[in-house]
């Protein structure tokens, strides 16, 4: 079975999935709204800064600035970029795949000359396009409340930021697809996804920029994919300093993302091949 779909297949899958997602636009709007955790965290951090505990946090990060070594505007900008990065790297393939496997919908996909995972890729990309206007509205609302946070990134940074969000989505999708593939062994593989939840929430940059964590934990976390899922793309988009004292360097971060991709793609294909051998087409 060919792995890469030709352009026409990709275009058709995306347009049809977009039509499907458009049917669920209200639900997607609510999902977009439910992703405001970074704004809540921004509020909490700001409150902490206001009552004087920021200095302590700042010293933990070794920045010595107003808050974790970041100006108030940079800090706000980081969280709005974390919101954007998350909106466009959200992955739900494990639940959809599990449902399809249990209900027998996976069987016809397996008998078509297209790797079934491409259908899920198309569905995610279509969902992202559907959520784009809602995400923009929410982000605009944040800028209205925090106008000092607004700044256009330099075109180069913007481009790299968009690229890193795309890479973050790809890594997240591959990671979750690895777990989804365990559906071939276990009927409830999605439960395993919960194992990733805690490191994802804390290390991805969703609740705080990586600077907020002790240096040892920062170094350790850079050996995992989590900081690249939200934190790194958010810092690129926000135009934050890279290299030197900062936890990420631009080239190092992008290289790490590519390395993760190079590791995850063959791992997924191998696990998939083994899993399909065990497939019993239950529910079909």
């Amino acid at each position: 079975m060919s792995f890469l779909p030709p352009l026409r297949v990709a275009r058709t899958l995306w347009t049809v999935q977009f039509a499907y997602m458009a049917e669920y636009r209200a639900e997607i709007a609510l999902w977009a709204l439910s992703g405001v955790l970074p704004f809540i965290m921004f509020g909490l951090w700001s409150a902490a800064a206001a009552d004087g505990s920021a200095a302590a946090h700042g010293s933990v990060a070794g920045g010595g600035g107003p808050l974790l070594g970041l100006s108030a505007a940079e800090f706000a900008r980081y969280f709005v970029c974390a919101f954007v990065a998350r909106q466009f790297s959200v992955v739900w393939v494990v639940w959809q795949f599990e449902e399809d496997a249990l209900e027998g919908r996976l069987s016809p996909y397996l008998l078509q000359p297209l790797h079934p995972l491409w259908r899920y890729v198309a569905a995610h990309l279509a969902e992202q396009a559907t959520r784009l206007p809602f995400a923009l509205v929410i982000a605009s609302g944040f800028f209205l409340l925090q106008p000092q946070a607004f700044a256009w990134p330099a075109p180069g940074r913007l481009l790299l930021g968009v690229l890193s969000v795309g890479l973050a989505f790809a890594i997240h999708f591959l990671l979750q697809s690895l777990i989804a593939t365990l559906c071939f062994w276990s009927e409830r593989a999605s439960a395993l996804e919960r194992l990733f939840y805690v490191p994802y929430v804390f290390l991805s940059g969703l609740v705080a920029p990586l600077q907020a964590f002790p240096p040892e934990l920062q170094r350790l976390s850079l050996h995992t994919p989590f900081p690249y899922l939200i934190g790194f793309p958010a810092q690129v988009l926000a135009g934050m300093p890279m290299g030197g004292e900062a936890p990420f360097s631009l080239a190092g971060g992008l290289a790490a993302m590519v390395l993760w991709l190079l590791l995850l793609v063959p791992a997924l294909l191998l696990l998939w091949r083994a899993g399909v051998r065990r497939y019993s087409a239950m529910g079909a």
């Binding site: 039509a19 078509q112 000359p113 079909a284």
Partner: protein, 331 residues
């Protein structure tokens, strides 16, 4: 040359056994018990290109598992299998382009969109040029009597319309090998008849090989000159439906209308009494003694009318499955 060749085909599933209740649940958590279920056991057959073959058997007999093996959806546990010159479970592109599997109501259609959207996806996936795809869609729609339904969301279609749209999606790439699992399940009599007619037409027009399972004997009798009867994973019969009938029922039914009622004791010497109600009698008489017995009946009993028939195949198969003891077909 055979397009399907199965020799000693086997499929074993490992399933966990769990007793009911709290104790059973706790035992299941601590010490899970597994057992092997042999869904297909040493099944051998071959099918020529263009044949229409019916798989018969009760629920759990191994029919659907056999179709899944033939289509490459699952890996065999043993034996040899070749379909259209391929080993199905490798799922090579050329193989996938030459087959289709329709699993009853398990849809490949996207629920919230019109069937045309799913058909567009299939056309792209199978590399059918857009103009050609439109032509095929029109042709299939005509054969299946589908029109505006193709632009209505799938969820708004009736069961029969959905099944027909499902068939369109499954056949758009013009497969040469059709694996159909209960293609008429749940449809009303008219829709069943239309789907049957469509499958017969498709087979005639394209020369495709069709393998189907069905609980409706009408599907089998209308479409399948040859049947494979599977029970408990074993092949019990491979041949014409009429031969199966002969094998399952080496007797014929003789209905009598008598001038006056007779007792069971008076009728017993002529054959097995299947029904006795007043002057109406139904006897089962071994085929080899049929002529002699009818001569005796006419000579010795007050017979007003007599009719000889084969027992209905549904009844025979139903009886067979209820008895549950079958001897596998000699190979």
């Amino acid at each position: 040359m055979a397009t399907v060749m199965a020799r000693g085909l086997r499929k074993t599933f490992r399933v966990a056994d769990k007793q009911p209740g709290l104790a059973g649940t706790l035992r299941h958590l601590v010490h899970r018990r597994w057992r092997s279920v042999q869904a297909v056991r040493e099944v051998s057959f071959s099918i020529e290109a263009g044949e229409v073959v019916g798989f018969l058997g009760p629920n759990g007999a191994g029919k659907t598992t056999t179709l899944k093996l033939l289509s490459g959806l699952i890996h065999p546990s043993g034996g040899e299998l070749a379909v259209a010159g391929h080993r199905p479970f490798r799922r090579e592109r050329a193989f996938l382009e030459s087959i289709t599997l329709v699993m009853g109501q398990k849809q490949q259609l996207i629920w919230d969109l019109p069937p045309l959207d799913s058909l567009r996806v299939n056309a792209a996936v199978y590399g059918i040029p857009e103009r050609e795809a439109r032509r095929r869609i029109a042709e299939l729609a005509e054969m299946l009597e589908l029109g505006e339904e193709l632009t209505r969301p799938v969820r708004k279609l009736s069961l029969g319309q959905r099944m027909k749209a499902e068939l369109m999606a499954a056949l758009l790439h013009r497969p040469q090998m059709l694996f159909l699992d209960e293609p008429t399940l749940g449809l009303d009599i008219n829709a069943q008849a239309r789907v049957r007619q469509f499958l017969a037409d498709y087979n005639r027009r394209t020369g495709a090989t069709v393998l189907l399972t069905s609980h409706y004997m009408a599907d089998i009798t209308a479409l399948c000159p040859r049947v494979l009867l599977i029970h408990e994973g074993r092949l019990f019969h491979d041949g014409a439906l009429a031969e199966l009938s002969e094998r399952l029922a080496p007797w014929r039914q003789v209905r009598l209308e008598l001038a006056r009622p007779l007792s069971a004791a008076q009728l017993a010497p002529y054959g097995e009494i299947e029904a006795l109600e007043g002057c109406e009698v139904r006897l089962a008489i071994p085929r080899e003694r049929l002529t002699a017995t009818i001569t005796r009946l006419l000579a010795q009993l007050p017979v007003l009318d007599l009719e000889v028939s084969d027992p209905p195949i549904e009844e025979l198969i139903g009886r067979l499955f209820r008895q549950g003891s079958l001897e596998p077909a000699p190979r």
